[in-house]
């Protein structure tokens, strides 16, 4: 089934009776060539690119819940490529290019909206750092424009420019940054993988990883044992538990990150705005809700909910930056489980066990990485060679100290990112 404007019109005029389920609901087979543990954005994208780029379709994605029920449906939907460090820059640049062709590629409306992202700065020193970051982005082939105060005012007239503590000096504008409909990204990749023959198996929790003589031979699940020659672990905040099934301890601590949504409002915030000094960022969803968040609560957690001090902090920062949002009522808030690494950058690498592959450590920035991560992880699993843009995401960088990617420059230590 292909989607088109004509199809929507036809279905609209005939009672919407012709729509089909977007993917099958198959029983697990006894064996596959490859198993992807985790049916989130990264796992589904991996399965899609395994089929699309490498012709590998005897693949199963095992999801303990339902497709789109994890972090891919619980984030703040921001898509950008404004990284600074080599290793990160080329990866996110590649990912953004994949985003830009994604809807045509998947024949699926993921509502990718390149509305522009503005990172604000509040001092001369910060301006220098942002100018440097913008130059790194331009050198990478992406877009960046340094805005002065009036430049920011043209885009965001509603900010409090003369705040006593954080007066706005300007911003780094990334016009190709924006947002996307998070669920649709999962659904689009799920549909694309399913159409190419990948089995998406929901309500199937992996309970063990079978290893014989240092080689993966399959997995145990709540729906029986499934054999496979290669197994990829793509389970975000649960990486520690799944890796433990293979006898591994990972450089990951799972933390809580909260997000908030207000009641629906008429369009008022046209960009993604980030206020780094206040640990606050905001955009407006297509439904009209203001979607905003801040920093981690800064303690390990699997609760999927946070505590009041960080809520207060985020609301204060929002009011500091744009007092106009004070009358909007918050409808809901939630927390996601973030797989935090010591240096704040991810891992796409082989595990020490033969046939086992790791894709984890996306910290609080996994959503924008979905296409690039799936593409690079599929490349690694299919060819056993790292994909060039993701070659820096090595697991051993922590032990050796070579190639650490500490984008914030705070140090490679667990409680600093």
């Amino acid at each position: 089934m292909r989607f088109s404007g004509l199809r929507v019109l036809k279905e609209g005029l005939t009672g919407n009776k012709g729509w089909q389920p977007h993917w099958r609901d198959p029983e697990p087979k006894p064996a596959y060539d490859m198993i992807i543990i985790g049916g989130g954005g990264h796992g589904l994208a991996t399965a899609y690119y395994l089929a699309r780029e490498h012709g590998l379709t005897n693949v199963a994605v095992l999801e303990k819940g339902y497709i789109g029920g994890g972090n891919v449906g619980r984030n703040t939907t921001i898509v950008r490529a404004n990284y600074f460090l080599p290793g990160n820059s080329e990866f996110y640049s590649h990912s953004l290019r994949l985003w830009e062709g994604l809807e045509q590629e998947l024949n699926y409306n993921v509502m990718h909206s390149q509305r522009g992202l503005i990172n604000l700065f509040h001092s001369d020193g910060q301006r220098d750092a942002f100018a440097r970051r913008g130059n790194a982005m331009i050198n990478q082939g992406d877009d960046a424009e340094l805005l002065d105060r009036d430049g920011v005012r043209r885009h965001l007239p509603y900010l409090d420019f003369d705040n006593a503590r954080f007066p706005i000096y300007g911003g780094l504008y990334h016009p190709r940054g924006g947002t996307a409909r998070h669920d649709a990204v999962a659904w689009g990749y799920a549909r694309g993988a399913d159409q190419r023959g990948v089995d998406l198996i929901q309500n199937c929790e992996v309970t063990g990883i079978d290893i014989e003589q240092g080689r993966v031979t399959g997995v145990q699940t709540t729906r029986g044992a499934i054999r496979a020659k290669k197994v990829g672990i793509v389970v975000a905040g649960r990486s520690g538990q799944v890796a433990a099934m293979a006898g591994m301890r990972l450089p990951i601590e799972s933390h809580i990150l909260q997000a908030f949504v207000t009641e629906g409002l008429k369009p008022c915030i046209d960009h993604v705005v980030s206020f780094g000094m206040g640990h606050f960022y905001i955009s407006q969803s297509d439904k009209g809700g203001l979607v905003f968040g801040g920093d981690l609560d800064f303690y390990a957690s699997y609760a999927q909910r946070g505590n009041m001090p960080m809520m207060e902090h985020v609301m204060e920062a929002g009011m500091t930056l744009m007092p106009m949002i004070g009358k909007a009522r918050v409808l809901r808030s939630w927390g996601g489980i973030m797989d935090m690494t010591p240096d704040g950058s991810p891992v796409i690498d082989k595990a020490p066990v033969e046939g086992l592959y790791l894709n984890c450590g996306w910290c609080y920035g996994g959503f924008k990485a979905v296409p690039g991560s799936g593409y690079s992880f599929a490349h690694l699993m299919a060819t056993d060679r790292p994909h060039a843009p993701a070659a820096g995401f090595r697991l051993d960088r922590f032990q050796t100290g070579r190639g650490l990617m500490d984008e914030e420059g705070t140090g490679s230590q667990h409680n600093l990112h």
Binding site: G240, A244, R249, H414
Partner: protein, 90 residues
Amino acid sequence: MRISCPICGERDRREFYYQGAAVALDRPAPDAAAQAWDDYLHNRDNPAGPVREMWHHEAGCGAWLVVTRDTVTHEMLASDLASRVQEAGS
């Protein structure tokens, strides 16, 4: 979330700095193998359930605490002074 300080009693979480899993109680010897240091600095059990953590009562009495906390419910199960835990040899 409130944390029980053995010196000050139960206090708001905001008074405390979180360091992480209580690995500092078992620091490797300076000449230990690279793997031991990697485990100590980077690798974590990261359990969903009770975990022993180091918290610093920085806006209170300044004591370092070992807090046992459930990462699924945020329930505080136990807390003690890090110095006392270290002396007891655990």
